[in-house]
Amino acid sequence: MKKTPERIEALAAEFVLGSLRGAARRRFEQWMMESARVRREVWFWEEKLGALAEDVPENQPPASVWKNIERRLWGAQEQPTQAEVRGIGRWFWPSWSLLATAAVLVLAVVMVQQPRPAGEQLSGAIVQANLEDPLWLVSESGAENLLKLRSIAASEAEAGKDYELWVVPEDGQPLSLGVIPAGGVHRVRLSDEAREALSRSRTLAISLEPAGGSPTGAPTGPILHVTKLYSL
C-alpha cells in the first residue's frame, strides 16, 4: 500500500486511538520506522489525544507496584545509590554524555514488547533524529541466519575509523557482528549465540571504532546508535 498523505493521516490517527489492529497495525509500525513524516503524524495525535488523559481521575497504585519495578530493574538490591548497573547500562550509559556532547541525538523508533511468535522475522531501522531518511534499514532472513543492512542515508566514518555493529543482549557484554560499510548492502551471518541473544533483546548498537574494528572485542568508541528491532 502506498504511503499517500491521506492514508498516513487517517492511519496515524487510528493507530494512536488504538482502533487500528492486527496486521494493519503491524504494517503501520513498519511505516513509522521508514518515514519521519509518518512518525511526526503519530506524534501529533499522541500529543493531541493525550490531552484526554488529563481528565481521568488519579488513582494511587498499591506500594507493591513500585517494589516490583525495583525488583525487575535491579533485582534484590534496592538501594538507589548503588552505582552498579546491569546489562546495557554498563557500557551504553557512560557513553551517553559523549553522545549528548556530540549532539548525535538518536532515536529508536518502535519498541514492541510482546513475545516473538515463532517464524517471524526481525526488522528495523537505524535512524537519526535530524535526518528524514533512516541511516540503515535492517532485516533478518531467518532461514540462513543472515542479517541484512541496507544503507540509505549513512555517511562514511571519519578517517581512520570504522562503524562496528553489535548485538546488545538482555544481560552481559555486547556481541560484535563486525565492521559495517557506510554504503551498499551488507550481510552478516549470525552465530547461534548472536541470533539467540538478538532474538531475545532485539537490540542492535553501532559504535565508532578504530579502523578494522574494536581491538578488545568490546565497544571502545562512542555508541552512535542503539535501535530496537521488531518482528514482522
Binding site: 488523559a53 481521575p57 507496584v65 516490583n68 525487575r72
Partner: protein, 185 residues
C-alpha cells in the same frame, strides 16, 4: 488536571537524569506521576491486576527509554502517558481480557466505573481539543471517546452503539479527520 509549564520542565529534568541512570530521579518521577498514570491504565482496562502490570511495564520502559524522549514527541507527561496507554492496550489484547460489551456497559460497568461519557472533558486544560470535540456529531465523538478511554475495538463499538461495523468505522475516520482540521486551525 492541567499541566503547567513548570511541571513539564521538572519532568524534563527528571527524564534527563533518568537517561543517566539516576535512580533517585526515577523514584521521584514515579511518585510524581504514578497515580495519574494508574488512573488511566485502570480506566482503560477496568481491571486492577492488569492495570498494575501495565503500570510496572510502562515505568520499566520509561527507565530504559528516557534518552529517546525529545520535544517533537510532545510534552514529557503526554509521552509517558502514551507509553502507559499503549502498554495497557497491548495487555488487554494479549489476554483477550475484554468482556463482551452490552448496552448497559455504556453507562455503568459492573466494576463500578463511571461510563466514559459521563465525566466531563470540559473541565480539563485541553480546551482546544474539547472545543473541537464539540464540533463533531454525537456518534463521532462517542466512538472516538470510547476507543480512547476504553480501548474498544470496531466490533465492540458496533455492538455498543447498535450499528454496523462499516458505519462505526466511518464515524471514527470522519470524526478524527474533522478533529484534525479543527485542531490545525
Amino acid at each position: 488536571m492541567a499541566q503547567t509549564d513548570a511541571d513539564q520542565d521538572q519532568l524534563m529534568r527528571l527524564l534527563m537524569k533518568i537517561a543517566q541512570q539516576d535512580r533517585r530521579a526515577f523514584q521521584e518521577l514515579y511518585e510524581h506521576i504514578a497515580a495519574r498514570m494508574f488512573g488511566l491504565c485502570l480506566r482503560l482496562s477496568g481491571q486492577r491486576e492488569l492495570a498494575e502490570e501495565a503500570l510496572q511495564d510502562a515505568f520499566i520502559q520509561i527507565w530504559h527509554r528516557a534518552g529517546e524522549y525529545h520535544s517533537d514527541r510532545g510534552a514529557p507527561l503526554s509521552w509517558m502517558m502514551t507509553i502507559a496507554r499503549y502498554r495497557t492496550l497491548d495487555l488487554i489484547r494479549a489476554r483477550k481480557a475484554r468482556q463482551a460489551v452490552s448496552d448497559e456497559d455504556l453507562n455503568e460497568l459492573d466494576d463500578g466505573r463511571e461510563g466514559p461519557l459521563e465525566f466531563s472533558v470540559r473541565e480539563s486544560g485541553a480546551e482546544k481539543l474539547t472545543g473541537c470535540l464539540d464540533e463533531l456529531s454525537d456518534v463521532q465523538r462517542d466512538s472516538i471517546l470510547l476507543s480512547y478511554y476504553r480501548g474498544f475495538t470496531h466490533e465492540e463499538l458496533a455492538q455498543a452503539l447498535s450499528s454496523p461495523i462499516g458505519t462505526v468505522k466511518s464515524w471514527i475516520r470522519r470524526g478524527l479527520m474533522a478533529l484534525k482540521r479543527c485542531l490545525e486551525q
